[in-house]
C-alpha cells in the first residue's frame, strides 16, 4: 500500500495534470498540472529568463499587485459574486489570457479557492499560478484547430520538429506555424474589447495596435523580433519589458522613445510698440516600437 501511495505521488509530480480527466479544484492542483519546473533541467537559461518574466507572475500586476482582487469583492465589478463561495470561472474573465489553463483544466471549485485567496491577499498561493512553458508550448500553440486539431497531450510545439524529446510526458516537439508570428502573442495581447463575455472586458490592445497602426504603415517585424531577441542563440524568454526591473525597463524605453527639445527666447511684437517677453519650447517625441506606447 505504501508503495502504491508513493507511485501515485510520483505520478502526480511528474505528469502534468492535463493528462488527467479530473479538473483542478484548488490553486495547488492547477499549479501542479501545469508545473514546468522540470523544463529547467535541460533549458536552464531559458527557464531562468522566464522566471523573471511577467509570464511567470501572470496573476500579479505590474509591481506585484493582485490586480484581479476587485473581481472577488462583492459589488466592486459587474462580475463580482455575492460572496467568494459563489465564484465561478465566469467571475474571472481575465483567465482568458492571464490563466488560460484554468478554462480547460479547472472547474468552479478552483474559482472559489482563487477568490478566497485574492480576498486574503495570499500572494504566495496566487503566485503559484503562471503562464508556464506548457501554456504557450501546448495549450495556446495551435490556432487552426479545425484544420490541425487540438494540441496533442504529449506534444510540445515550437519553431521546429524534434523527433524525440527527453521528457517523461511530452515526448515529442512539433513545429507550429505560428511560433515566429505575431499572432502567437496576439492571442492574448489583445485586439480590443472582449465582447464574448456577458459584460465587456478591455485589457491589452497591443495586437490591435500592431495590426492596424504598424502593419498598415509598412511595418514588417513580428513581436518576437523585438521582444524575444536571441541570447546565445535562443529566443529570450524574459520577453521584456520586465516592469519590476526599473533600470532594465528604463533602458528599453530610452532605446525606443526619443525626445527632441528646441527653445527660443525673444520679444514678441504683439501690437505696435507692445513687446511681450516670450519663450517658446518645441518638443518632438518619436518611438520605434511596433505598437502604441503606452497601451491598455
Amino acid at each position: 500500500m505504501r508503495l502504491l501511495k508513493l507511485f501515485l505521488v510520483v505520478c502526480f509530480i511528474i505528469l502534468p495534470v492535463s493528462a488527467f480527466a479530473e479538473k483542478a479544484k484548488t490553486i495547488e492542483e492547477l499549479a501542479s498540472m501545469y508545473d514546468s519546473s522540470r523544463c529547467k533541467e535541460c533549458h536552464a537559461e531559458i527557464y531562468a529568463q522566464w522566471e523573471k518574466s511577467h509570464h511567470a507572475r501572470s496573476l500579479m500586476g505590474v509591481q506585484d499587485g493582485l490586480m484581479m482582487t476587485p473581481l472577488a469583492m462583492k459589488g466592486r465589478t459587474p462580475f463580482s459574486p455575492e460572496d467568494p463561495g459563489k465564484a465561478t470561472l465566469d467571475t474571472f474573465p481575465c483567465f482568458k489570457c492571464h490563466l488560460p489553463q484554468a478554462l480547460v483544466s479547472a472547474d468552479n471549485a478552483f474559482a472559489v479557492d482563487y477568490a478566497k485567496a485574492l480576498l486574503a491577499q495570499d500572494k504566495k498561493r496566487v503566485g503559484m499560478l503562471s503562464i508556464t512553458c506548457i501554456v504557450c508550448h501546448n495549450t495556446k500553440a495551435i490556432i487552426h484547430r479545425l484544420e490541425e486539431g487540438q494540441p496533442a497531450k504529449n506534444v510540445l510545439y515550437g519553431k521546429r520538429d524534434v523527433a524525440s524529446h527527453d521528457d517523461e510526458f511530452f515526448t515529442k516537439v512539433k513545429k507550429s506555424g505560428i511560433f515566429d508570428h505575431a499572432i502567437m502573442c496576439g492571442q492574448c495581447h489583445g485586439l480590443g474589447p472582449n465582447l464574448e463575455f456577458e459584460n465587456p472586458v478591455q485589457c491589452a490592445t497591443l495586437y490591435g495596435s500592431y495590426e492596424h497602426n504598424y502593419i498598415s504603415k509598412g511595418g514588417t517585424q513580428q513581436c518576437q523580433e523585438c521582444h524575444m531577441q536571441k541570447v546565445d542563440g535562443f529566443a529570450d524568454h524574459l520577453i521584456a519589458p520586465n516592469w519590476n526591473d526599473h533600470e532594465g525597463t528604463k533602458k528599453i524605453l530610452q532605446d525606443t522613445i526619443a525626445m527632441d527639445v528646441q527653445t527660443v527666447g525673444y520679444d514678441w511684437l504683439k501690437a505696435s510698440k507692445d513687446w511681450k517677453p516670450m519663450v517658446v519650447v518645441n518638443t518632438k517625441i518619436t518611438q520605434n516600437a511596433g505598437h502604441r506606447i503606452p497601451d491598455g
Binding site: 524605453l253 527660443v264 514678441w268 517677453p277 518619436t286
Partner: protein, 97 residues
Amino acid sequence: MTAKSADGKEVYNTERHYHTQATNCKTNKMLYGAQVKTQYIRDTALQPFETKAETFEIQLPKGVRAVDVTVSLRYEINKPANFIEIAKVSRKVSLDR
C-alpha cells in the same frame, strides 16, 4: 514641463498626457480597469511611425528676461508618483544677448 526664473520662482508649468482613454460607454467618465473599460474614446498615445510635436508659448512675467526650462518625459506606472523618467532636458533661455 516647467520654466523657472533666476530666483527659482516657477513661472510656467504644464503637462501633456499620451495614453489611451476609455469609458464604460454608460457615462462620459473615464475609467481604468479591464473589467469596466469598454471602448476607447480618445487615444493620445505615441503611435508607430508618428511624431508627437508640441509647441509651448510662455509669456514671461514683467521683469523676467531669462528662464530655466525643464522638460521631463516620463512613463507613469499605475499612478503619477510612480514613474520612469525616459528623458530630461534642461535649458537656460534668455531674451537678451
